[in-house]
Assembly symmetry: C2
Homo-oligomer: 186 residues x 2
């Protein structure tokens, strides 16, 4: 008789990880409490014990996971801002399935804290109007990633075209980022 698998206890972390995997691989519309339960080898109802507000809480947690981005304070406010933008873009690109949530849910919890911290970091580094700057940085990252992911869902690209597309997206992003930072300096 095969040994019974030791029952890894359910946890908020495992639930979110599994939910991200489903959303990214099959789409947000296929992320279902019952399917999520299956992936975790558990009845759907068990999830409510760890996320009391149910699916709404799950959606909030997924948005927060890709949106509560923090970076270390760097030598200049420009370096700190760049690090945040690159880190944010990376995690958003990694989880296209929850991009709609990330761009749309009002920031709260860890995301709101991260925004507050970022304003503080830029202020401490000598940037006036840091709150305005943070809004601009967030808008830039959100817009770039939205257009990039949208376009990756477009018609039949050839494989080498794909590669070029990625490279161009990176170059576009870096070019836009430099221009934005120059604009904020004034």
């Amino acid at each position: 008789m095969p040994a019974k698998r030791p029952p890894v206890p359910l946890s908020r972390e495992r639930i979110i990880e599994a939910a991200l995997h489903i959303a990214d691989s099959q789409g947000l519309r296929r992320l279902t409490m019952r399917r999520l339960g299956d992936a975790l080898q558990v009845e759907a109802m068990a999830i409510y014990h760890h996320l009391p507000r149910g699916k709404e809480a799950l959606m909030d947690a997924l948005a927060e996971h890709v949106t509560a981005v923090r970076v270390e304070q760097a030598a200049t406010w420009q370096e700190t801002a760049k690090a945040w933008c690159r880190a944010s873009r990376e995690v958003l690109r990694e989880h296209p399935g929850v991009l709609a949530l990330a761009l749309t849910k009002p920031p709260k919890g860890g995301t709101a804290l991260a925004i507050g911290e970022q304003v503080e970091q830029l202020t401490d580094a000598g940037l006036p109007d840091a709150a305005d700057a943070v809004r601009s940085l967030r808008a830039f990252v959100f817009g770039s990633v939205a257009v990039e992911v949208q376009q990756s869902g477009w018609a039949d690209p050839e494989v080498d075209e794909w590669t070029r597309r990625d490279e161009r997206a990176d170059a576009d992003f870096e070019r836009g980022l430099e221009a934005l930072l120059r604009g904020l300096q004034i």
Copy 2:
């Protein structure tokens, strides 16, 4: 006996209009084929006669409605670009309920045509790399509106703060737009 209301025939247009109203006022998650049928005084199943692919087709149509934006060719490519950005922002702000779809669905149908037309307009007006420029403009508008709408769903603002918020959002948008156009010129 009250006169029976003349049965206004169902149509794609009426369906989309009613769907936008539900999504904007109650949220996308409450937009349901059955609720949509109720709003149109019709059984939900009648909708399938006008949107054969059902809810998926409805979602596509809603995204297209706020995303297939076209403007007249203006005197300079800068003016044409500005007009498109302002028009796009306006229609996206008017329909926050479908913003997630607009930012996330790959462009097709009327949206893809509008993008093609815009590239042509800017090219004709003498802008090199018009396709890159159009991507940048779309990213700018999407990001700006996303951050703006996100923030409008935030904590308890006082009424006068609200007004200032709207004004500031307008000013931010115009300032960012000018900076972006200067950047594209080079």
